[in-house]
């Protein structure tokens, strides 16, 4: 059996970190930071997702091939967001010439 068995205490500490991050994200949501509120919420959600993927989903202990499969899923998600936002968020940058309204 080459399959890695994760120690239970690692699961408990990951769970503790997830609950602490949940508390943090709720607390930060009530502090007025302007646009940074979204950044903070998404950063914390991203950290939580990475913790779940690496430890609960065992990716940290998996083969390089599996890493490629995992990253590919999120890479394609990144393409979808990057191309869509590069369109929508830049539409107001250039004035439309007359007759194109």
């Amino acid at each position: 059996m080459s399959e890695h068995i994760v120690e239970k205490k690692i699961y408990y500490s990951v769970f503790g970190s997830l609950m602490a991050l949940l508390g943090a994200t709720i607390a930060i949501a009530y502090i007025h930071l302007g646009k940074l509120n979204v950044m903070a919420a998404l950063t914390i959600a991203f950290i939580k997702a990475v913790l779940i993927i690496l430890y609960f989903m065992h990716v940290r202990y998996s083969s390089r091939l599996l890493w490629i499969f995992v990253c590919a899923g999120f890479f394609w998600l990144g393409i979808m967001f990057a191309l869509s936002f590069s369109d929508f968020l830049t539409r107001g940058w250039l004035p439309l010439p007359a007759g194109w309204e």
């Binding site: 059996m1 080459s2 399959e3 068995i5 994760v6 239970k8 699961y11 408990y12 769970f15 997830l18 609950m19 949940l22 994200t25 709720i26 949501a29 009530y30 502090i31 007025h32 930071l33 509120n37 979204v38 919420a41 998404l42 914390i44 959600a45 939580k48 997702a49 779940i52 993927i53 430890y55 609960f56 989903m57 065992h58 998996s62 083969s63 091939l65 599996l66 499969f69 995992v70 590919a72 899923g73 999120f74 394609w76 998600l77 979808m80 967001f81 869509s84 936002f85 929508f88 968020l89």
Partner: protein, 214 residues
């Protein structure tokens, strides 16, 4: 290897290769799920950038306390799921069944709280459609917010119901002694699915409930 004969499918060289194939296949499926939910997250984000005042106002009508408790419940269920896979790796059948039942119960608590929230939204006339009612000038755009809210949380809840169904099958298979420390992959793949559903909620909760609170 006679003791492998029940677990090892004949097309694989050894049990490790079989395990790797199961994980890769599950992650390909999860990649399609990432894109499925990703499309809804993209739509939500684009509309939020266009109709931000309405989005912020409508989002404040959601119940942070219930949403926060639900996030905690779901994280607990991910822990019991991870421990169930751990027990399956060690071959503790009774522990696996107990932890899967705990995961199902926690998942049911989540769905119960979610239905309480849905009922509150129903009473407040926030269900999109002819009876939708939202005070102020942002009503039309708030209806789009609630459409996203119900579709995204509804698809998430549907995934949880399917996950509970899969766990019931895993309990039955465990009781039939189908799994061993050599072959527990279906329990582990069920875990991957459940953790994925948890990750979706980890992003849904702040985006729907939190980002426009302050």
């Amino acid at each position: 290897m006679p003791e492998h004969s029940t677990a090892l499918a004949h097309q694989f060289d050894d049990i490790d290769q079989q395990h790797e194939s199961a994980s890769l296949g599950m992650w390909i499926f999860l990649a399609t799920e990432i894109m499925f939910f990703g499309g809804m997250f993209l739509g939500y984000s684009l509309y939020r950038s266009v109709y931000h005042p309405a989005w912020a106002e409508a989002s404040r009508h959601l119940d942070v306390v219930l949403g926060g408790i639900n996030t905690g419940v779901l994280l607990c269920s991910s822990l019991t799921m991870a421990l169930a896979v751990h027990a399956a790796q060690l071959g503790g059948r009774r522990t696996v069944v107990a932890l899967l039942i705990a995961t199902i119960l926690l998942g049911s608590v989540f769905l119960g709280i979610k239905s309480v929230e849905y009922y509150q939204k129903y009473e407040e006339h926030f269900i999109p459609g002819p009876h939708f009612h939202f005070e102020g000038p942002n009503g039309t755009h708030a209806q789009i917010f609630f459409s996203f809210y119900f579709v995204m949380t509804g698809m998430h809840a549907l995934h949880m119901i399917i996950g509970i169904g899969i766990m019931l099958v895993m309990i039955a298979l465990t009781l039939k002694r189908r799994f061993s420390p050599e072959y527990y992959f279906p329990v582990e793949m069920t875990g991957l699915y459940w953790h994925f559903v948890d990750i979706v909620w980890v992003f849904l909760f702040p985006l729907l409930y939190l980002v426009d609170r302050s």
